[in-house]
């Protein structure tokens, strides 16, 4: 029960955009889990009949067919699972690596810090895609595993930098010094005191890495550096491009996978802003404009005086305002009972 209520608590504290992101992501995760089980056709089945090649969406084929008569919808469902699987695995591995590197660098200091920071920075500044191409290009089989390892191997520096910076600030705080004085072992300090304080940062880093993995894997597949016999969203786009789907007007082939990628990406970005704001309460006020007593107040405006705010709302403003959560604050006793 407490886990459920903790989850509900978390949900309540998430800002609107993060909730949208979470719901959207949930839809895709659901699709990934049950999708491949409910595909109407076998995605690889090539239908030899020419009349079924490159057909627009119909009742039989909800998203149309490819050049070789394959069902786009089935491919899409399988593709979502493959792409998400890959991205999540990369996310986990790379995040673990970045936590290891980031915390170690901050904790060990001195030479190790310099060295690890240098390595991170070098891999950050070298452009990713060309390096990925170089690595994958030489592998005879460009399977899922290879892609996962390569992406994870290049995806940790960003998170490592951020985590290192945060660990440095925490490390210098008094409660850590207190733990050290009391003789607590370093690894215990790291595990029980430092990492719990960085949970939201690690979560945000994870989401970022997943985002990167999706983008990179789709781009790599698009240029042909993936297992072209599997159906990921990227390979779908590769085949669509190489079979001239665009020029032949077969929008149903390349639009669905592309939009799926864009939506997953948007969901992750939205989730990330939510996690950021949760973990760093100061960011909440960094929302640009604030709604004070129902009115939009710019940070550079003079401090508003309540009397001048009440009654100045336009009709449209009032209507839009009724959708925002802040209106709850208005109507409760908090707003009225100021004496």
């Amino acid at each position: 029960m407490s886990a459920l209520s903790a989850l509900r608590n978390l949900w309540r504290r998430l800002p609107l955009k993060a909730r949208i992101g979470a719901v959207l992501m949930g839809v895709f995760v659901l699709a990934a889990v049950i999708g491949p089980e409910v595909t109407p056709y076998d995605p690889s089945y090539q239908n030899p009949s020419p009349s079924l090649s490159m057909q627009p969406p119909s009742s039989a084929y909800l998203l149309g067919t490819t050049q070789s008569g394959q069902d786009v919808l089935s491919q899409l469902l399988v593709g979502i699972r493959l792409t998400l699987e890959l991205a999540l695995l990369v996310g986990v591995i790379a995040t673990v690596l970045s936590v290891l590197v980031g915390v170690s660098a901050a904790f060990l200091g001195g030479f190790w810090d310099e060295f690890l920071s240098l390595v991170s920075n070098v891999f950050l500044v070298i452009p990713q895609l060309p390096l990925l191409i170089l690595l994958l290009g030489y592998l005879p089989q460009k399977g899922q595993l290879a892609t996962i390892l390569v992406l994870a191997g290049l995806g940790w520096p960003w998170g490592a930098r951020v985590i290192r910076a945060q660990t440095l600030t925490i490390r210098n705080r008094d409660f850590i010094a207190a733990s050290r004085e009391s003789g607590e072992k370093s690894w215990r300090i790291i595990l029980y005191e430092i990492i719990p304080n960085e949970i939201s940062l690690i979560a945000a880093s994870f989401v970022n890495t997943v985002l990167y993995a999706i983008g990179a894997s789709v781009a790599l597949a698009f240029i042909g550096l993936a297992d072209l016999n599997s159906w990921s969203l990227g390979t779908m786009l590769y085949w669509a491009q190489s079979q001239q789907a665009l020029q032949l007007g077969a929008w149903w082939w390349f639009l669905p996978p592309g939009i799926a990628v864009a939506l997953i990406g948007t969901a992750l970005v939205l989730l990330n802003t939510g996690i950021d704001e949760l973990g760093n309460p100061r960011l909440r006020s960094a929302r640009g404009t604030e709604k004070i007593a129902g009115h939009r107040v710019w940070p550079t405006d003079p401090t508003p005086v309540l009397a001048e705010l009440v009654g100045a709302r336009s009709r449209v403003g009032a209507f839009l305002h009724s959708f925002s959560r802040d209106s709850l604050l208005d109507d409760t006793s908090v707003g009225g009972d100021l004496r």
């Binding site: 940070p299 003079p302 401090t303 508003p304 005086v305 001048e308 604050l329 100021l338």
Partner: protein
Amino acid sequence: MTPVLDIRDLSVVYRGEGGDVRAVQNVNLSLNPGEVVGLAGESGSGKSTLAYGACRLLRPPALITSGSVRYAGRRGGASGAVDILAMDHDQLHKIRWRDISIVFQSAMNALNPVLRVQDQLLDVIHAHLKLPRGEAREKAASLLDLVGIPRQRLRSYPHELSGGMRQRVMIAMALAADPEIVIMDEPTTALDVVVQRDILAQIVELKQTLGFAILFITHDLSLLLELADRIAIMYAGQLLEVGTAEEIKREPAHPYTKGLLNSFPSLRGARRDLAGIPGSPPDLRDPAPGCPFIPRCGYAVPECKEVDMSLARVRGTTGPQHVTACPIVSLSSPESSQEGVLS
């Protein structure tokens, strides 16, 4: 005489998800021309919020929920005082710096890190004084002379100056438009004692020459005893006692003031034990009824919960302006044990 700044019944809240934080509650304070009023209190007592709120400089989620702030300076016009809280953007813009200027707490943070000192001074000069270029530059240089900084520092960046120098630059800037009121927010807190002394002496001298009023905010009551004409003691967003420096020093009326005075040693006189004030300030989100000092007060009695916190003349005092919010304790009350009777 009419006060140059008259704050009446001012309340400021910070509106948040968990409810309103009542940073300032129904405060009355006035500032007379050429006077130095000290505003003393611990961190979080609301003193900065009071001062910035009165100038409408607080950022969201701050909200002013009651009161008026009447400014009756020479630019207030023949009609008398104008209410800052009722001003619109343009009117506010006119009184900023020209009439009321501020010396901020941390000069390192209050100075633009990418502009030279000269450019920042010129910004202020051009904004308020219509001077041709050559004269403007001369004015900037003379402002530095005023606070005792060598002229070649005009070309420096803020990070190239020492803490004391930065603070002096802030003071010079605050005086550029010849204001009537200067609000000083803990101007010497971040500096060491020697520099502090220097700067305070400078401030006093400038005040005597130029004749502006000062609202001096600090947590250091001992400083105010030397510097201020009148002192207001603030706690948990409310004023507890107001009086002249002499009155506060010789006959503190409020238990909190007594506690504050006992908290620091005096260089002269007999040695005595230092006593702090045990406990910590209350949560301003959900204020308890009555006096906010009850949990830490050595004199607390059940009636304290019904006190309405209005400032009334201290019983048995000679000064007409000496007021306190505590009707329970009088000047002749015995010393308390400093332990909370009501916890």
